[in-house]
């Protein structure tokens, strides 16, 4: 039986997402987006309270 397919050691490839050369950039973008969402939700709660 064929063994389960594992990634080669150097498989931590570039994200190939326009505007992002490294995964770190993607993670920072996602976290910043989350912070923005929380800020918007806090403003939303306050505005309509």
């Amino acid at each position: 039986m064929k063994p389960p397919q594992a990634d080669p050691p150097d498989s931590d490839e570039a994200p190939r997402v326009p505007g992002f050369r490294h995964w770190r950039g993607i993670y920072i973008f996602v976290f910043a987006f989350f912070v923005l969402v929380v800020v918007l939700l806090a403003i939303f709660s306050r505005y309509f309270a």
Binding site: M1, A6, D7, S11, Y27, V30, A42, F44
Partner: protein
């Protein structure tokens, strides 16, 4: 439901199931059967992760919860984006590098056989029982409202998901989940659009003034169930446990052509999950506003239960409550209109007085709703007095046009099928890889036999889930108990993975005993809160506490045992 609704419902459900079965009927390679096609793209993985997490409860109960308690529940998801980033950075690359089929295989390679079996057993125990709940929860609500037989609803949905999950494994699950998510998004957006056409112009302001739009609460109070802090910390650990160590999720993202696909799929969820949940709870808050202006708003939304009491010999009590509610409801509507007029007028003092009057009317209406629940409980101690699950389905059945009703019922079934398929797929895989292959190591090299066994295990778990769902229908309070059991078991499991990833000097015996000790500690903490409610903490906090306990116990036990705690890795 009329013929058009039935056509839409059955066409959607059977069509997707048949398509998934037919497209994947020749799946006979173990890697493909368990992990999906190697060419699965990131969007399919992202939708699959989302579909597995969001069951019918998400779409049916969450709007009702927002109707009842507002939008605070959304904070439960605040830890999710950070947890998914951690999974992408730490968990996923290791799973991919080792080429494992299950998360628990990694525990065997890092520690030893007994730790692997402990992880797999904890998963099988809680997820096996949860799979029954996944079909039971929507079946009980839909069969009650639509007048269907509960047992037949459970058996039909259970068998349908077994057919395509057994036939095509992960490939079928990914394929069907993509289409099911399309149905879900289409249906929910349509329902929201119809609701918007029925709302007054000041709907958001009314919902806000009546306390339904409080989405973020920064109060540092451990006893409050949903705050920013409990969501960030407790939600982080809960999400980390679920996405990082629960095979039903791990299996969704370890496939794909490359590491990139799994990572982007998870990041898709990190970005869109909170906005999606916001949309669902906002729908619930808007339903609340809608029903403030409906003259025939029921005092109790589970009308099947309520009607059975109205038509009973004690019906006079229930009719009196109905009449009382219609009076306070009309008064509440008048007070809301007065507040809107005062607000538009711009007079702060008048607006403040009108707001107080509106709050008073809301309190009076809530008191009558509570009176209705008390009357139900007094008439029948076994009666289900929580009616928030019935709010959205009542709106669907009474306010939406035919065809759309069928589509929304299809949404409920699609979400049940998609999350159940992910669960069955994971249960079958873990049973085959972590248990069967462990006890039959020689047979592990026979690929055809492995696939055959994975199919058998998937089918058996499916039948077990159906059987359990049928049993639960005669012992309903088990649901709450099982949800609690699931939330108590996660922290120790995540603790084992945290030790595995970050504390390289800790051996198998230390972490095994630490996991058992942490499990007992979390259980004791939970029971202490139940015995002494004044000291009870929100359940989300059990997650970081349990993980911390497992990590600390592991370090201490490693110090005590020394090299004796180091064990041999699992050879399989």
């Amino acid at each position: 439901m009329n013929a058009l609704d039935w056509f839409v419902l059955l066409g959607t459900m059977l069509g997707i199931a048949a398509y998934g079965t037919w497209r994947t009927r020749h799946t006979d390679n173990l890697n493909t059967y368990l992990k999906g096609n190697r060419n699965t793209g990131w969007l399919t993985i992202g939708l699959s992760v989302m579909a597995t997490q969001a069951s019918t409860i998400t779409y049916l109960s969450l709007p009702g919860q927002a109707y009842e308690s507002g939008m605070a529940f959304i904070q439960n998801y605040f830890g999710l984006p950070l947890a998914l980033i951690i999974v992408c950075v730490v968990f996923l690359p290791i799973y991919r590098k080792l080429g494992v089929y299950t998360a628990y295989e990694y525990l065997g390679k890092r520690f030893d056989t007994k730790t692997r079996l402990l992880g797999a057993s904890l998963f099988l125990l809680q997820r096996g029982l949860q799979a029954g709940i996944t079909i039971y929860a929507p079946a009980i609500i839909l069969s009650t409202v639509l007048g269907w037989r509960l047992d037949l609803t459970i058996i039909f949905t259970g068998l349908l998901v077994i057919v395509y999950t057994v036939t095509g494994g992960s490939v079928a699950v990914n394929l069907t989940q993509k289409w099911q998510m399309a149905v879900i998004f289409g249906g929910m957006i349509t329902a929201f659009a119809v609701l918007l056409t029925k709302l007054p112009a000041d709907a958001l302001h009314i919902a806000g003034a009546m306390g339904k739009l409080q989405a973020v609460d920064f109060t540092p109070d451990l006893k409050r169930r949903y705050t920013f802090w409990s969501g960030m910390l407790g939600g982080l650990f809960l999400s980390l446990s679920y996405f990082g160590t629960d095979q039903s999720q791990v299996q969704r993202y370890i496939g794909g052509a490359a590491l990139r696909e799994g990572r982007l799929g998870l990041m898709f969820n990190a970005v869109f999950k909170i906005p999606m949940q916001f949309f669902i709870v906002l729908l619930g808050a808007m339903l609340f506003v809608f029903y403030q202006f409906q003259p025939d708003t029921p005092v109790f939304f589970n009308q099947t239960e309520w009607r059975s009491h109205v038509e009973s010999p004690q019906g006079a009590t229930f009719k009196a409550i109905e009449e009382k509610y219609s009076v306070v409801h009309a008064d509440q509507q008048t007070k809301i209109r007065a507040w809107v007029a005062a607000r538009d007028h711009g007079d702060a003092a008048q607006e403040s007085a009108a707001r107080s009057a509106m709050a008073g009317a809301q309190k009076a209406a809530n008191a009558v709703r509570q009176e209705a629940r008390d009357a139900l409980k007094a008439a029948d101690p076994n009666a289900q007095v929580k009616d928030s699950d019935y709010v959205f389905i009542t709106f669907i059945l009474t306010q939406l046009p035919h065809g759309v009703v069928g589509l929304l019922i299809a949404v409920m079934f699609a979400s049940a099928l998609s999350s159940k398929a992910g669960e069955l797929n994971a249960l079958g895989t873990t049973s085959t890889i972590d248990l069967w292959r462990h006890f039959r190591p020689l047979a592990a090299h026979d690929e055809a036999r492995n696939v055959r066994n994975a199919k058998w295990f998937t089918a058996l778990w499916g039948l077990f889930a159906i059987g359990f769902a049928l049993y639960v229908s005669s012992a309903e309070n088990l649901i709450e108990g099982l949800n609690i059991v699931a939330s108590i078991f996660y922290p120790a499991l995540l603790g084992v993975f945290v030790v595995a990833f970050f504390l390289k000097h800790v051996g198998g015996s230390a972490v095994f005993l630490a996991a058992l000790a942490a499990q007992i500690f979390v259980l004791a903490l939970f029971l202490f809160g139940k015995i002494y409610p004044a000291h009870e903490i929100g359940y989300l906090w059990l997650n970081p506490i349990g993980v911390a306990a497992c990590v600390i116990f592991s370090v201490v036990l490693q110090l005590i045992f020394g090299d004796k705690a180091k064990t041999r890795p699992d050879p399989i």
